[in-house]
């Protein structure tokens, strides 16, 4: 199908899709690969890169990699790397719905501890897409599956603190709006939304997210 392409918009956010984006399936017709850059705020200030490639399936679908990292003066100590799949599961005219599962690895390094965490996410989006622009509602969840903690400063204050693998200690949920517009060979996308802790039990310190991304297709 000719009108399957993607755009990937999105990048970032761990595990899910705060900053990550699904493709505007209508925007590009004969594209195989999409590369994007993104900047925004989600839990913390962050930037990201992403790449996705069309999958030879009966529906518009793509597989991709998303890398996201918080700002700071140490370049590669904290990051999130996600493998994603996304597919347009439903379409009626210009109305469209997309499902996007993801699985990833997250690393955190601070004076307190070094953490490596396995996480999984699921994003559902739906809205109006044309080949020039799109507007969607997006909901997503991101769950930590297990984390390995190696303590630094905390080891000094509490020598008995346990270093090793821990079961899940939480996850996040997000709900937001996404809009994109085609600019020649590029797609500009903006996201705004609200974040909660697992099961809406609490909110992160910065409970809102916002991002801008620019995607180019090849």
């Amino acid at each position: 199908m000719k009108n399957t392409i993607f755009l990937l918009l999105g990048l970032l956010v761990p595990g899910l899709s705060t900053m990550a984006q699904q493709v505007n399936w209508r925007a590009f017709d004969s594209v195989n690969t999409v590369v994007g850059v993104q900047i925004g705020m989600d839990i913390n200030t962050a930037y990201g890169l992403s790449v996705a490639n069309r999958l030879p399936m009966g529906i518009p679908a793509a597989a991709g990699i998303e890398y996201w990292a918080p700002f700071g003066n140490r370049f590669i100590d904290d990051w999130n790397l996600m493998a994603t799949m996304q597919g347009e599961l439903w379409r009626k005219g210009s109305w469209s719905a997309t499902l996007k599962p993801s699985l990833g690895l997250r690393r955190v390094e601070s004076p307190v501890a070094k953490i490596v965490s396995l996480n999984a996410g699921l994003s559902v989006s739906g809205g109006y897409l044309t080949n020039r622009w799109g507007a969607l509602v997006e909901a997503s969840v991101d769950q930590s599956l297990a984390s390995h903690l190696q303590h630094g400063l905390l080891k000094e204050t509490y020598p008995s603190v346990y270093d090793g693998w821990y079961k899940s200690m939480g996850g996040t949920a997000r709900l937001g709006l996404l809009a994109n517009v085609a600019l020649g060979q590029n797609l500009l996308s903006v996201k705004l939304g609200r974040s909660w802790g697992q099961f809406f039990a609490d909110s992160p310190t910065i409970p809102w997210y916002a991002s801008v991304s620019l995607v180019r297709y090849f």
Binding site: T45, R106, A146, T157, K167, M169, G170, G197
Partner: protein, 327 residues
């Protein structure tokens, strides 16, 4: 098979059985409710981690830690006052440090501050041997605010007070000070070091996880170039995240004013501020201490806000001179 079950199986095959973060003592130290070897007092319906140094009948100096939600570990250099004829008492406030965890509901409503004041009154009552025994309060940061709240309510029960950098004695003062001391730099390494882990520890109400998560914010407070002048991290046992949240909510919801009756307190107060805390300074110390009838205002050289840990050498002589004058 659920993803988590699959992961657990995989890790198990690799010899890695994930630990339960709620297992006592794994992420945060055991409290007096879990470790019977810790020193404690049972007062006012709760069990507090507490200990005392010196001869019980000597003039009493009660150390009151900061936060809210901190603990007294970084104040322990003041235990040396016991060598100079003082009975020095330390306690972790309700729901903080190694004191037992308590539900947030205990801090509910406008009476939360009175609860903390009554806890302090009960600690003094527990250790005091005679009505003639003098009592001096020694409060740091939030602890200096709590000491002032106590004096405001019970001026006749205290014979002197040492206050080191209380953020403010009214809620507007607290807000003004926090706006200077907690500057937010959104793109900084230290802030993102604290916020990034929130993706992992979220949506959980268990106090162990909340306390553990709060520890990550020490990277912000003590980062190089911090406005409060701390030279680096300082020791603590446990961040009492629930107590911190609850008492902060109390202040922002109901306000606070610890100055309404301070003119009833006649002894001089030793009011100290640190040389390196750029959010404080002499002008702010003069404004905050103004409601007291008599104030000895002084600076602790070469230290930032945590001056009982980083600046004790410059702090101690002033404390000794002050206490000797009232002993």
């Amino acid at each position: 098979m659920k993803p988590f079950s699959f992961l657990t199986l995989t890790l198990g095959l690799l010899g890695c059985s994930p630990a339960d973060p709620l297992s006592p003592g794994l992420l945060v130290p055991l409290t007096v409710a879990e470790d019977p070897t810790l020193p404690f007092v049972q007062v006012n319906g709760t069990t507090l981690h507490a200990e005392a140094f010196g001869t019980p009948g000597d003039p009493m100096v009660v150390l009151i830690h900061g936060g809210p939600g901190g603990d007294y570990r970084s104040l322990l250099k003041a235990a040396s006052l016991a060598d100079e004829g003082y009975f020095v008492v330390f306690y972790d406030q309700r729901g903080t440090g190694l004191s037992e965890r308590v539900p947030k509901s205990q801090f509910a409503g406008a009476e939360a501050i009175s609860l903390m004041v009554n806890d302090l009154d009960a600690v003094i009552g527990h250790y005091r041997e005679a009505d003639s025994q003098k009592v001096f309060l020694f409060g740091h940061s939030w602890g200096a605010m709590l000491a002032t709240a106590f004096i405001n309510q019970f001026p006749e029960k205290v014979q002197g007070a040492i206050l080191s950098e209380p953020g403010g004695l009214t809620w507007p003062q607290v807000e003004a000070y926090l706006s200077r001391s907690n500057k937010i730099r959104l793109f900084s390494e230290e802030l993102n070091d604290a916020l990034f882990p929130e993706q992992l520890f979220s949506g959980r109400s268990e106090h162990e996880i909340l306390d553990y998560k709060a520890a990550y914010f020490t990277s912000v407070e003590n980062a190089p170039g911090n406005p409060i002048g701390n030279a680096g991290p300082y020791p603590f046992w446990r961040n009492g995240a629930v107590a911190f949240d609850a008492l902060f909510e109390t202040g922002s919801t109901y306000g606070l004013d610890f100055t309404s009756n301070l003119n009833s307190f006649q002894p001089p107060v030793l009011f100290l501020y640190s040389e390196l805390n750029t959010a404080y300074g002499r002008a702010w110390a003069e404004e905050v201490s103004a409601p007291f009838s008599a104030v000895q205002l002084s600076v602790v050289p070469g230290s930032g806000h945590e001056m009982l840990w980083f600046g004790w050498e410059g702090f101690a002589p002033q404390v000794r001179t002050y206490l000797s004058s009232l002993k």
